[in-house]
Assembly symmetry: C2
């Protein structure tokens, strides 16, 4: 069966099951001009949106439709995590070229629905359109947070400890392997890190709920670039310690075997979707214990300093300037 | 200056002025992982999203960048209008091919900002990415409405009067002219109707506030298709009167001069972005007076009937079946 056999409204009928994960406070779901819901007036509303474009963000020959669906929601969930919020309601826009089969689309929506269920997010509608050549998926996600818990990029202070809630570099190594056409066998963890990232909603909630962290962002552009965003918004600088950047053994083995630049992949490439934050040094241990008790991780990787700019203390203890560079869509 | 000269973050800096139209209740605008705002806990939240794809929804050779920007927000505003809501906060995703010049993008954002200002909507961020070939714009728009005022597609009842808040067909005639490469001179109104539609937010608010209408939708797919959506959701049918469908003199002249099918263009082609609703016959005059006093229009065009299906009473008083057909992206 082809998309053109069922038409736009047949397609909408086909995807609308299992989209309502949580009925409470949903007034109108799929099937009207807008979806309608309520959020407690006590809470601030978070809104984020992310677009994935074929050949820019993914290759249909490399990622499974199911993983693509999961990832398209995961990147939005990660933005809610980075503010310390709870994700709630999503709408999906999809532009579909005639070449994309209905079974691929079924897989994409199954992936989205599995991710939605995992994080108790409703899929409440969206927009479906044709596309002349490339598959494009855009999700807009609404979340909520207590106003006094929200964590912005702009709160970092000189003296703060810089931390990560997970290991970095694996996603970039997975992408590197895919783009260089290397055999996946033995490196499945790296490809998985790239195709099926796990948004750190729980870590974000723990960090926000404790009200001791000063700044938070998710690592989408890369540690250096995202730390650069925090430093720019907070008008501070930072020193990272290369030896403390957490990576997996598989990542290190990959870089060694193929002579890839582990510093570049772990610091200047993105899509790890772990959280990067800063916390006063007196509260760092308190935060570490809370995260670890909650099954999350806390890796101290450097310090915030008053002087603008990023610096890296290398493994052989030399201090070098580090560009806040990472992924840039237009350069 | 090219997009690649300023990079993704230079581009974001370039567009962020004049995005905050209304500061109240905005906690965080452009420049963080999410935008953050508040809506009174008394109000229900409306969320809608619409994607415009180059070569599907627009041709850069036919529409000005400014109009494209206005239209990309207008189609979302129209969805909020169709629920009787007030638009509030928007986020914009844009996928930009290397061939699109910075001056075009400046025009697009100027258009969005002018439309945002007209309707007091904040532009609070979004996502910018490259695109391999086509320009894609997705907007997600949050609005608010009193829960007891919200107008759905599902409330139409047999006996209801069917009404429009504006004339139809001009947008389709404008598109017809563009696609057939006809000279625009003398037909600027039609092209304008297609490129610069005016969302009926005010009419939607008047209709919702009176709490007497039973169903409401905006005419994006076409009168027949959108009335079909109301009938399907409401489990009713409808009879339209061809002689009462409001069109402009310019539209009628265009169809006459070029022998175009005015019935098809006014009933089965979309993008008029007027509102189509139903109201009990006892309340129709009351609603008409309220709309007209508010500077809006009310055109009675038919009746809701209990039997499913759409019928058209033609100009020569014969009753014929009418397909609920209009634009379908996949057929």
């Amino acid at each position: 069966m082809k998309l053109k056999d069922i038409g736009e409204f047949g397609f909408i009928k086909r995807i609308e099951s299992d989209c309502l994960i949580r009925e409470i406070n949903v007034i109108r779901g799929i099937g009207d001009d807008c979806c309608v819901f309520k959020i407690s007036g006590e809470m601030a509303i978070l809104l984020t949106t992310d677009m994935l474009v074929e050949e820019v963000h993914f290759l249909l020959s490399a990622i499974s439709p199911y993983e693509l669906g999961r990832k398209s929601l995961a990147v939005n969930l990660s933005d809610i995590a980075a503010m310390g919020g709870t994700p709630k309601e999503a709408v999906i826009s999809i532009a579909i070229p005639g070449t994309v089969d209905l079974t691929i689309l079924d897989g994409v929506y199954q992936g989205m629905k599995s991710m939605a269920k995992e994080f108790s997010v409703n899929l409440l509608g969206g927009d479906t359109t044709s596309s002349p050549k490339h598959l494009v998926i855009n999700i807009a996600l609404v979340g909520e947070a207590s106003e006094d818990e929200i964590l912005c990029r702009s709160g970092a202070r000189a003296g703060d400890v810089i931390f990560l809630t997970g290991q970095v570099g694996s996603s970039a190594a997975g992408l590197d392997l895919i783009l260089k056409g290397r055999e996946r066998e033995g490196w499945e963890d790296l490809v998985e890190a790239h195709h099926n990232p796990h948004p750190h909603i729980k870590a974000g909630r723990i960090i926000a709920g404790m009200k001791i962290a000063n700044a938070l962002i998710d690592v989408s552009d890369g540690v250096a670039a995202d730390l650069g965003h925090i430093c720019t918004e907070s008008k501070v600088g930072a020193i990272l310690q290369e030896g403390m950047i957490p990576t997996t053994e598989k990542f290190r083995k990959y870089c060694e075997k193929f002579h890839e630049d582990s510093k570049h992949l772990s610091l200047h490439a993105g899509e790890d979707y772990v959280l990067l934050g800063t916390v006063g040094p007196e509260s760092a241990d308190h935060l570490r214990v809370a995260l670890e008790s909650g099954g999350c991780a806390f890796y101290q990787i450097g310090h915030v300093v008053a002087e603008p700019g990023l610096k890296l203390m290398t493994r052989n203890n030399s201090l070098e300037n580090m560009a806040a560079s990472g992924w840039d869509h237009f350069r």
